[in-house]
Symmetry: C2
Subunit: 245 residues, 2 copies
């Protein structure tokens, strides 16, 4: 029998008012006198699934436990099955404190999540880890929205998981996804910057406006913002589909 | 710990000279005097992965073991994680003869495969099953290309896996995929029937020809077939990308 542990890891993308595409990372902070091996253990929100749990509900549960983020867009995008993915020395000390069988193989299912960042401000979340045969440990998760070009070295293969999620987003970016990442009312520069961040390239402003308006998926609203450059108010747009919401 | 078994199941699609989209199914036949519980056990080619094996190579290995099909297009399309997916009564008798721990949970990763059916004629494949703690059992696999609208009740959740693979193919069908399923030289009616089978709808002949020729991805060859209707020879086409192969 294969008898492998299964985990889920969530790559939560957010797009903030500074117009930056960010990923939500977590760091475990031990509560008081306990070990501090988790200090540099920055990772994606993720954990083992339970023996009797289906993957999608498990991803929702784990994300909620670790970040308080609930009921959001979550989609499987890849599976990471390198037999050595949890065996790096840098991770073993951490795993030894958290798992009853730290050497056992773990296959992880990557989930991509999109949120409007303003709805999910980072704060500390108390966690309550039950380790089979070893009782319970508690502590806090620090959460941090991190620019995609400033992501540090992460635990396990999480850097590779983020890169794969970005590739997925690049390939799949569509109006539904954009509308989740952006506020309901957005400006053309916001929409353009989102596309530039995801596609990782500069886009010609004039061509972008022409193309996006030609597609007819966004519509002008009557609202304007006074923060437009050169004192000229910027126009807000909405996705056509959002008009009737 | 979750300690779950991981398997892969392969949905191998082929498109034959009768212009039908088919799926490769297998039935285990016991060699001689042994049990015959496998008689009605028709399933997708699939098996548990090994403890130290990555998913993609595992899928290639398992498909080769069960069908002799080697080195083909194989792509993960979904994961099936219902905790009860191997617990149906209809499957338990079969599992009891094949697995050391038949009640254990199995999560399966679905792989989609595309082949030109003429290269893979069905024949019986000898199998050699090693069951942990129980020695080895041998027998034959019967393989059968089955029309997608004539698929019988399959083992476990394999009908659902086939349906999901078809949905995936429907969404992802592109020229690369079509070129794998079709012979190098094909007729427009062949290409149209492939699209009709995958999309599960009739397509207007005139519109289809107009659209596909406008896209410029296929080119006319000098070859013709004498089997065209009304005695008029049909023209063969090739995908533009195949021209330089």
């Amino acid at each position: 029998m294969s008898n492998i542990n299964i985990s889920v890891d969530c790559v939560v993308f957010g797009f903030d008012s500074d117009l930056d595409l960010k990923v939500l990372l977590i760091t475990r902070n031990e509560s008081s006198d306990s070990f501090d091996t988790g200090k540099d253990h920055v990772s994606l929100p993720g954990d083992l699934i339970k023996y009797d749990e289906e993957l999608d509900p498990s991803a929702q549960r784990i994300l909620k436990n670790l970040t308080s983020i609930d009921k959001i867009f979550l989609k499987q995008f890849a599976i990471f099955s390198d037999p050595n993915r949890v065996k790096y020395l840098k991770d073993q000390a951490w795993l030894n404190t958290y798992r009853a069988a730290p050497d056992e193989r773990v296959i992880t299912v990557g989930y991509i999540s999109l949120v409007n960042i303003q709805d999910f401000e980072p704060d500390a979340t108390f966690f309550d880890d039950h380790i089979e045969g070893e009782g319970t440990r508690g502590g806090f998760y620090e959460k941090c929205w991190t620019k995609i070009n400033e992501i540090p070295q992460l635990a396990f293969d999480h850097n590779q998981i983020v890169d794969t999620a970005l590739e997925f987003l690049k390939k799949e970016l569509n109006h539904q996804m954009s509308s989740i990442l952006l506020p309901k009312n957005f400006t053309l520069p916001q929409l353009q910057k989102l596309h530039e961040d995801v596609l990782d390239k500069k886009i010609d402003k004039r061509n972008f406006r022409k193309q996006i308006l030609k597609e007819g998926v966004i519509v002008k609203t009557n609202a304007t913002t006074k923060t437009g450059k050169k004192g000229k108010p910027a126009t807000f747009y909405q996705f056509q589909d959002d008009q009737n919401l």
